[in-house]
């Protein structure tokens, strides 16, 4: 494939709209979550400055938040994305201490959505389909994800600490997480294993190898489904262990850029006499931003989702796979982790432990195997073209 064929390939308009609204939603959540990190840093910025100077970063923060809402709902989306980029750049130029690599990833993804796509936005939850056209947004998001993994491998390879087999992983489990005060469930479970030098070295090499392989796997039709599972699992485990927060959700959203759009390859069978099923049928067009699911209303029968390959799942397992097909599930996960950063306890339990527990239970549902269905397959999983 030549660069022209790659960047000039037509893309379903739902894809660019979904990525744009997804990035806008994550920007909004990230800027609300930034309160915990930015408030003490901006307090330092304000020391010895005039009132107007001290207030300026807060003004830019507010402007960025309003612009991110515009990107999410599709109000002048390219202009909103431009304003969001300018506000974040201005904020970082004014008060460099608020810089974080998470916001740099966010900035790049917002900039990508500002580069291309219709100026007049149709939200991904609108029913209009449109025709496939050349769009840079999905291709650049794909390239950005690959660059993030590859540059991460290079940075690790250049770092003396990462070259010492297992040293970073051992430090994380024995010092970094215990001293951070985060009371999650993952580190106590991993610490006895990963404080062993051989296992720590294996885990460290495994992370670097996976990051090195993921870009090639994501661009390969044959390995894409495996890359989705391996990459998403890696990001969810890292989130529940080390809480990189916004970075996790931006990366998970980026994986949708490799998925098909508008293929209606999955079939969701619902029973039209059951109120809960009818509610789901009404909500589906607002959740299925990428247009992956074909609705099949029947007079009776269970909630059932059949994959393009003919694997059928029912009940909770079907709902889990439906959520995995829909980008708003990343926003829901992000909201669960990022909203109200000052809340450290839920019902008397550490918030980190509650998040870990909920994610483990929800993740476990996804492991329920599907059964071979007699329904005709409609498409292909992982066809990103």
């Amino acid at each position: 494939m030549t660069p022209g064929q790659f960047f000039g390939a037509p893309s379903h308009p739902r894809m660019a709209r979904s990525l744009r609204s997804g990035v806008g939603g994550l920007a909004l959540l990230g800027l609300l979550h930034a309160e915990a990190e930015w408030t003490p840093r901006l307090a330092l910025y304000a020391v010895g400055r005039s009132g107007v100077e001290a207030a300026a970063p807060y003004g830019l923060w507010l402007l960025a938040t309003v612009a991110s809402l515009g990107v999410f709902v599709g109000a002048a989306p390219r202009a909103s994305a431009g304003v969001l980029c300018a506000a974040l750049a201005g904020l970082h130029a004014l008060a460099p201490q608020v810089y974080h690599n998470n916001y740099y990833v966010l900035w790049l993804l917002v900039a990508i959505t500002a580069l291309d796509g219709p100026r007049a936005h149709r939200a991904p939850w609108s029913s209009e389909e449109g025709e496939a056209t050349t769009s840079l947004v999905p291709r650049l998001v794909q390239v950005q994800l690959a660059l993030i993994y590859l540059l991460s491998v290079l940075a690790k390879a250049a770092h003396p600490w990462w070259r010492e087999g297992g040293a970073v992983v051992r430090w994380i489990v024995t010092e970094r997480v215990p001293q951070s005060g985060v009371r999650g469930l993952v580190n106590p479970a991993l610490a006895p294993l990963l404080s062993e030098p051989a296992l720590a070295a294996a885990a460290q090499s495994g992370i670097v190898c996976l990051e090195a392989l993921l870009p090639a796997m994501l661009f390969s039709r044959r390995w894409r489904a495996t890359a989705f599972v391996a990459g998403a699992t890696m990001h969810v485990v890292m989130q529940e262990w080390l809480f990189p927060q916004l970075f996790t959700f931006l990366m998970l959203l980026g994986y949708y850029a490799f998925a098909p759009a508008g293929d209606r390859g999955w079939t969701l069978s619902l029973c039209e006499t059951r109120p809960a099923h009818r509610r789901l049928a009404r909500a589906l067009p607002r959740l299925d931003w990428l247009g992956r699911v074909r609705l099949d209303l029947r007079p009776e029968g269970p909630l059932r989702l059949v994959s393009p390959a003919g694997l059928a799942r029912e009940g909770l397992s079907a709902l889990w796979w439906l959520a995995a097909l829909c980008p708003p599930s990343v926003l829901a996960y992000a909201a669960f982790a990022l909203v109200a950063p000052g809340v450290t306890e839920v019902l008397g339990l550490p918030r980190a432990a509650v998040e870990n527990g909920v994610v483990m239970v929800v993740g476990g549902i996804g492991l329920i195997p599907g059964k071979r269905s007699s329904q005709t397959p409609h498409g292909e999983l992982g066809d990103g073209s």
């Binding site: 201490q97 660059l147 770092h159 990189p244």
Partner: protein, 145 residues
């Protein structure tokens, strides 16, 4: 968008992504890659392992007014041992690439804070850094109000 425009923009995007980390690389340093604009946790230089000695005196021997306990400024001023100081560095010099960069950010902060002290106050700050992999770094700052 025309395919040719898309290709040109795509190529520019990739080039920019490679130029930014390359421009921030320090091939002769013990940590060649910068943590800023990098995509991995715990891969920037290890800096800020410093002892910080701070004295603030007023002309009439009264105790100097300190920021409220629990405030960000007080956290920085109270961070004296290397462990505490390296954590406080994240408040005023995140992703610093060297101890000299940490010292420059601390100097700027202390100079601004000194402006809030009563006239005649003297601030003396001594920083001694021994971050792993780096040569020892020291600096002394004296500010008179």
């Amino acid at each position: 968008m025309r395919p040719a425009t898309a290709t040109a923009l795509g190529a520019l995007w990739i080039a920019a992504q490679l130029v930014i980390p390359a421009a921030r690389a320090h091939p002769s340093s013990p940590y060649p890659a910068s943590g800023r604009f990098s995509w991995t946790m715990f891969a920037g230089p290890l800096v800020g392992r410093c002892e910080h000695a701070l004295r603030v005196s007023l002309s009439d021997a009264r105790p100097a007014p300190m920021p409220l306990r629990g405030s960000a400024m007080r956290t920085v001023l109270d961070a004296r041992a290397p462990g505490e100081f390296s954590q406080a560095v994240w408040l005023f010099a995140p992703y610093a690439d060297s101890d000299a960069e940490v010292a420059a950010s601390l100097d700027a902060l202390l100079r601004r804070w000194a402006r809030t002290l009563p006239p005649g106050a003297t601030l003396v700050s001594e920083l001694r850094c021994a971050s792993p992999g780096w040569p020892r770094f020291t600096r002394r700052l004296q500010v008179r109000r």
